[in-house]
Structure formats: structure tokens, C-alpha cells
Symmetry: C2
Subunit: 208 residues, 2 copies
DNA sequence: GTGCTGACTAAGCGCTTGCTCAGCATGCTG
DNA sequence: CAGCATGCTGAGCAAGCGCTTAGTCAGCAC
């Protein structure tokens, strides 16, 4: 089973098609390294070597090690928000749409777990301005889920005592997948998505 | 709202009563620093300064920076396992006991979120031998939850299609609390525990 | 008092870090 | 062909890292 997380990520980067291939290789190496060892334990030599270059080459394509992280984080969050928005905006009632959101959100965090780890667990290493951008995107994702739960409650499809906590639980379940999921985990990302979709609907008291 | 997470942790350390107070201050400072900045971004000077000592003093009480992390992780995991075991072993049927486990597990991860962050998100920085110990404890925790779900299914109190995935979801929800919970979060740790207990019982299809 | 111990510090060692820069090969342009 | 921009490297700098060392000092036994 091969996973190609950054291939999905790359097109969302500004000027993706005009960038030299080396910049992509560096990004890929950075994602892998940051995910495995964490931002601070990763050296610029690690990244450059993994991309088949000398450390100096990194600074031709990116301003700094932190800029690389910022780019990964921005693109990863943007991709996730798009995924959630599209799944939530499709046809069907709130329950059906929520199922789709959880399936996609969960599967993405399993499939793109390397990107997911960087996106979710290296926030503290971001420069301040990049953090602000990314925090806004995270809030948007949570709001999208909250809105969907509220719609479900209004339509009488969900029964929830506290929307905020429920929304936290839903996103939390998906995010944490990127922490524990490995290639050796039983079930494909899509299977896990379906199971989690089922669990979440029950959690929300869906009458379906 | 003040939280004293390490105070709970300290007694579980070997030779806790004979250890000098300085060792406790260093541990406390290390937990705070590791939780806030991560293991690799924390310097021995950070820890020592926060404990009101010079960097060299650290090495009188602990063999290395990594040894400090190992002690925190070991003690934190041991405390969590004890908490789960006691909650699961109490009186009542599987559903009642599961509610108690989730309430306690969740509340602990909210209350002791600094310790929780180190315990759950700094595993990769552990020396190999400490990692092996800690991994065994994590497996025990997961097994405890799985066994409780199986008991519930056998007793006809739960309805679950896949025990492993359900157990993952239950522990996952609790663990992730230490990532997002802050002092500013709405609701006390105990309130959150109660809400999560409710959500999990529904997720497991509890007929109560 | 004397001798000893254990907690601690100031200074700093050896090494690694993020990052820079002069220079080189390549290929495009006039 | 020259001239020049582009992508990259080898060498290396300043800063900061984990950890060690030599030595200080309060407290206790005798």
C-alpha cells in the first residue's frame, strides 16, 4: 500500500506548476522528516540529503526551514478545509452530509498521515504570521462542522446536548487518526472512514 | 482555575519520599517546558532556569535530558493505566463502568494536559528502552478498554460492529483532549468528562 | 575546632545547528 | 561566439547545544 500525500498537497501551493521540480522534492523530504522526527529534531541537512541535494540548495527555494514548515502547514490546512467544505456542501440531509464529511476527513488523515502529523502537531513551531493564518483555517473547519451539527439538530435528525463539545469530538476523532494510523493498521483509510462515519452518526443521536 | 498535574505524578516515581525537593522542581519545570515547546526545542538551560538552578544541577538529579523525559513518560503512563484499571474494576455493569472510565480518562487528560502532552506527543524522543516500557503500558490501556467493550457486547449492553476500531475511537477521544484543552476551554475537566461519557455510550450503541 | 559529604555553580569543551557565500557548470539569448 | 541568468555545491561561520569539570559552601559527625 503506497500513500501519496504530498502529491495531493502540491497543487494547492501557489505557483505549483511553475516551480522547479527540486522545490517539490525538498517539500516532500521536509514533510517526511517533520512527520517522523518533528520540526526541531529535523536538520536542514536531513531534508537536503533526503532530496538529494546539499544543504545550501534549500535556501534557493525557501527562505528558511520555518518557511518550509509554514508552506506545508498552510497548504495542508487549505486542502483539508476544501475537503470538508465540498463534502458538507453536497446533496442530502445533514446526517448524510455529516457522514460524508467524517468519511472524507478521517480517510484523509489516515492516507495523508505524514502531512497530517505536520499539520496538526507542529503548529507551535510556526512563525507567528503563519500561525495566525493557519489558526483561522482551523477555526473555519470547526465552524463548518458545528454548522452541520446545528442544521441536523434543527432538522430533527440529530439530538445533541451541546453543539460545541460534539463538534470538538467529531474533529478530534479525525485529527487523532494521523497520530496513530500506520500502514500496518487494519483496514484501508476508506474502510476506517466508513466505520468512523457510523460511530459519529450514533454519537450525534442520528435517527437514520 | 489552578491545576497541579505533576503533584499526582510525583508519588508514582520510585523513591519519591527520599528524593530532594530540587528533583521535584526540575521535573515540574521539565513537564511544563516539554509540553509547551516540545522535547527538542527545550534546552537544559530552560529547565534549570525555570527550576531556579544552574544547568549543571540537572545532572546531579537526572542522568540526562532524555532521562528526565523517560521518568515523566513512565510515571504518566503508569498513573493513567492505574486510573483506567480502577475505574473499570469498580461496581456496576459494563456500560456504567465504561462511563466511569471515559469520565476519568477524559478529565485526567484535561486537568493534567501538560503531562498529557508530554506523555502522548513526545514518545518519539524517548530512548529505546524507555519507549519499549511505555509502549507496553499503552497496549495495556487499550486492552483494558477493548475488554470492557467486549464485556458490554457479551452482556447485550453494547452494539458494536468492530471492537478494535471502537476501542481506538474511545481512547483516541480522550488522548486528543490533552492537545486542544486549555484553561480557557468552556467547562471544567469533570464537566467535559461527563459529556464525553455520554457521547461514548451512544457511540457504543448502549441501551441505557 | 577538623574532616567529610552532598548540593550546587561558573566556566567552558566539543560538537551540531541554521544559514551564507564565492565559485562552478549548464543552457538560453543576442 | 560571448554574456549572462539559473541551479547548485563545498567550505565554513557564528551561535547555541548537551554535558563536564573544578571548585565553593552549608551542614553534620566527632
Amino acid at each position: 500500500m503506497t500513500s501519496t500525500p504530498i502529491a495531493d498537497l502540491w497543487p494547492t501551493l501557489p505557483g505549483a506548476d511553475t516551480r522547479p521540480e527540486a522545490a517539490y522534492r525538498l517539500l516532500q523530504a521536509a514533510v517526511e522528516s517533520f512527520a517522523e522526527r518533528g520540526f526541531h529534531a529535523t536538520t536542514t541537512r536531513d531534508i537536503a540529503t533526503a532530496a538529494g541535494m546539499s544543504p545550501a540548495a534549500l535556501y534557493i527555494h525557501y527562505q528558511s526551514k520555518a518557511a518550509l514548515l509554514a508552506e506545508i502547514s498552510r497548504a495542508g490546512h487549505a486542502a483539508t478545509l476544501t475537503l470538508v467544505r465540498e463534502a458538507a456542501a453536497g446533496e442530502g440531509g445533514p446526517a448524510e452530509r455529516m457522514r460524508r464529511v467524517v468519511e472524507q476527513f478521517t480517510a484523509w488523515h489516515a492516507r495523508a498521515r505524514t502531512v497530517g502529523r505536520v499539520v496538526n502537531y507542529e503548529l507551535h513551531a510556526l512563525p507567528e504570521d503563519a500561525y495566525a493564518e493557519v489558526a483561522a483555517l482551523r477555526l473555519d473547519i470547526e465552524r463548518e462542522v458545528s454548522a452541520l451539527i446545528e442544521a441536523g439538530v434543527a432538522a430533527g435528525e440529530f439530538e445533541v446536548s451541546e453543539v460545541r463539545t460534539a463538534a470538538r469530538a467529531v474533529t478530534s476523532l479525525g485529527i487523532d487518526v494521523s497520530r496513530w494510523y500506520t500502514e500496518r493498521s487494519s483496514g484501508t483509510p476508506e474502510e476506517l472512514g466508513r466505520r468512523y462515519g457510523e460511530l459519529v452518526l450514533r454519537m450525534l443521536g442520528a435517527r437514520v
